[in-house]
Symmetry: C3
Subunit: 344 residues, 3 copies
């Protein structure tokens, strides 16, 4: 496994799957059904790809129980509950991530009083402020800027050209993708017109264990008190999280979502791409917000909402279907109304 | 005040408020009602937080006249017209912004002919082009890039990893948050298909006094003539302003708004998050555009619009309410129409 | 022409137009109708600007045949099929782009085994990884980061503070504007809850000839297989393209559009600003997607769609018009339904 090679049998053991076919089949790579060759393992996750399975040259294939006996295609099959999870495991085993260059590049700048445990990888041109604390095995990309007094746990990865403002608190294994901005002042103003003044932002930003922030996403610091993202919450690219937002654990927030100030979101919430949430709302645990929905009121736990203003998704669908039936009747209904008015 | 400490009496004088309770109460910090301790001042701005006031341990509280006599909670109260403005003033007095490190970091690059007045703070790795002019007390963050011939007024703050293209003109006290991009070529094409060519962008970008640009926001330069943002206009994170847009003074433009090319916006306009404006439109002074609205026609001064296509907000609400009442009637209306057709 | 000066006659020849008026009129600049002076050429592209033409002080004007004989305004006129294309040509001739400073700035970092052909311009603080290959005449801006093994064709322009991940493949004349992020890991997860794991992204990102990526736009790498943008496709600012998306040739994708994972888009597709596309869809050649549309199903070739869920634009307009007529009738229709119910 160190050399990125497995047998089909070893792979089945690794992913906890049930093998049919040749356990000695060598597997050196992972590829899509179309691109896989005899040395690759591929996967089938949905019925739409059965024709590609049947035409695939893959040496082995990961698939769920319902596709176990699909005729045609690779005979060496590994039956697993979740093929995507198994693919992720296979990729990690077969194409391990390249090890970073440990050490501090001579062009990186490290401020006074900044310390880390064990090893660290700081790339060219990175700038660490003063009294920054980093755990073990942190990686800081080229040009990344980490502000004074910021704290990072173990195994954090701060990619190229990210900016982390002073006083930010990161847990373990936090990942910031290129261009992510964390902890800058939010958009809050007092007064109006020419007398408008920026509200100072003295609160910080806290990203708990295993939080990931997408490329060019922005998370503002709190004005008073912290902006907080709970453990395991993942933000896709270009997401905006305003000051004093509190997001629970294990949320998935897709690209270009915007969350306005002081809104509170529970655990295990899913927010589809380009959805927007107004400020000072509460979204309960396990709520699902559809892509492009516009949330302007509280959302109860477990609800699935869509549309603008966002409300129960099934109700939205019912109303849309009803209005689609009504629209073609408009002329007749207008005549009916006229007749009715005449007879009044 | 130099040491960040005030009495409640001194704070009341500072914010122009009326004190009830102990004028000698020492105040050293500002915190939310939940987080404040006996040495902190807090604030109450809306009725929803009265229970938090009543449970608060804050030493003093800023509140508007209507909450002056709310029973329970801190007895030392400062009555002010606008508690948020007073909080901003208190924060500035009690937790002053740290002074920047004045001077030019040895790793910063300063082009030929670039000059500034008085003092300047240029952080590690910043790159100033040739013949750049800066006023007094400007601050340039790590990795920021300022193009040739760009002009900055006094007191500008150009945060880490911003890019300002050549020939940009910034007034006084302009702020660019991390990752803001100002003055790059816009998205304008001539011809079509394989013959499509980029329209050269020779115009510049002008940000007047007190303009602020949010993190990762983008403001394109003009093709011919300038893109202009008027004095006091504020852009939130991830806003997009296309080439040759002209925005008036004191507008507030929330996160992820997009404004297409050559659109003209008046003074004191508010645009909610994720709203989009098509190109070549005119939006009058004091117009209010709701979050997520899609503007595809001119908007008169003072109008409040929402929806797609954006139109008068009250009309949108009326139509939505009417359609919500109609939807459940669809089956009956279909039967009526059938009957009516039969009897025709 | 080397000194950026032309006569009206020479300009007419350059743009393939027909001249009326003085062929010896000197032309030194290009400006809008309002801003042009006697030494400038301007242009008229739409009827709304005829009054500006009539008041213009421009020395010459480019216009299409239908405005050839508009009375008033500049008498030296060059009649062309596409005035915008002619303006672009005039701008290129009269205000040529400044030549970059060829060479590698001493503060740039070039990794082992990285090579280029002919000349190159690498600005201060740029970081090129190992075994990067660049063609002729490539320009790399300040702070740009190019990952290991990435390949660039001839004439590429990688602006300041862009990040290109390892193993990316760029064709000729590819342009990345400031802050563009290309090739980072996508947003794909396997498992759920606390067992959620990132799907490794081992595929790459491929940008074909003449692709341009807007400021702060993001294009994720593939998980298995590549994310591909076809020749001549242009992305505006803040666009998001997820992992394994395939976009054809010559598409125009406006600001803040989001395209979810594995969606496939044909050639010559136009996508309006802030539109969103769900994952795993197919959009046919020449389709037009209106601004802010929400695409959740396949779109056939040549279709014009709008709204959420996006469908035929004319059908959307028809239904909107019908519902706008129905809404005011709601009370009468409710009474009709009541009467009908009573008489049942």
């Amino acid at each position: 496994m160190a050399d990125g090679r497995l047998t089909a049998g070893a792979l089945a053991a690794l992913v906890g799957g049930e093998l049919t076919g040749d356990p000695e089949m060598p597997v050196a790579g992972v590829a899509s059904l179309e691109e896989a060759g005899p040395g690759d393992v591929s996967f089938l996750a949905s019925a739409g790809y059965v024709p590609q399975l049947q035409a695939s040259r893959a040496g082995a294939v990961l698939l769920p129980p319902r596709f176990r006996d699909v005729p045609g295609g690779p005979l060496t099959r590994i039956v697993v509950g979740d093929p995507r999870l198994a693919v992720a495991q296979a990729l990690r085993a077969l194409t391990p991530e390249p090890s970073p260059e440990w050490g501090v590049h001579p062009t990186a700048r490290i401020g006074r009083g900044t310390r880390w445990e064990g090893r660290i990888a700081v790339a060219a041109g990175a700038v660490l402020g003063e009294v920054v604390r980093l755990g073990r095995d942190c990686r800081v990309g080229s040009g990344a800027v980490i502000g004074d007094r910021t704290v990072l746990g173990d195994g954090c990865r701060v990619d190229a050209q990210t900016v982390i403002a002073p006083d930010t608190v990161l847990g373990n294994r936090v990942v910031l993708r290129p261009g992510a901005r964390v902890g800058q002042e939010g958009f809050a103003w007092a007064g109006s017109g020419a007398e408008r003044r920026r509200v100072p932002h003295r609160g910080a930003c806290q990203l708990d264990d295993d939080v990931e922030i997408g490329a060019n996403a922005t998370v503002d610091r709190g004005s008073l008190g912290r902006t907080v993202l709970g453990a395991g919450t993942k933000l896709d690219n270009l997401v905006h999280v305003a000051h004093n937002v509190r997001i629970g654990a294990r949320c998935l927030i897709l690209a270009q979502v915007g969350i306005a100030g002081t809104t509170t979101i529970g655990d295990d919430v899913m927010i589809g791409g380009q959805a927007g949430l107004a400020g000072q709302l509460r979204v309960g645990d396990r709520a699902q917000l559809a892509a492009q929905s516009g949330v302007i009121g509280d959302i109860p736990a477990g609800a699935t909402v869509s549309g603008y203003p966002a409300r129960d998704h099934r109700a939205v669908l019912r109303q849309s279907a009803a209005l689609a039936r009504l629209a073609p009747l408009v002329s007749t209904l207008e005549r009916l109304v006229d007749t009715h008015a005449d007879s009044d």
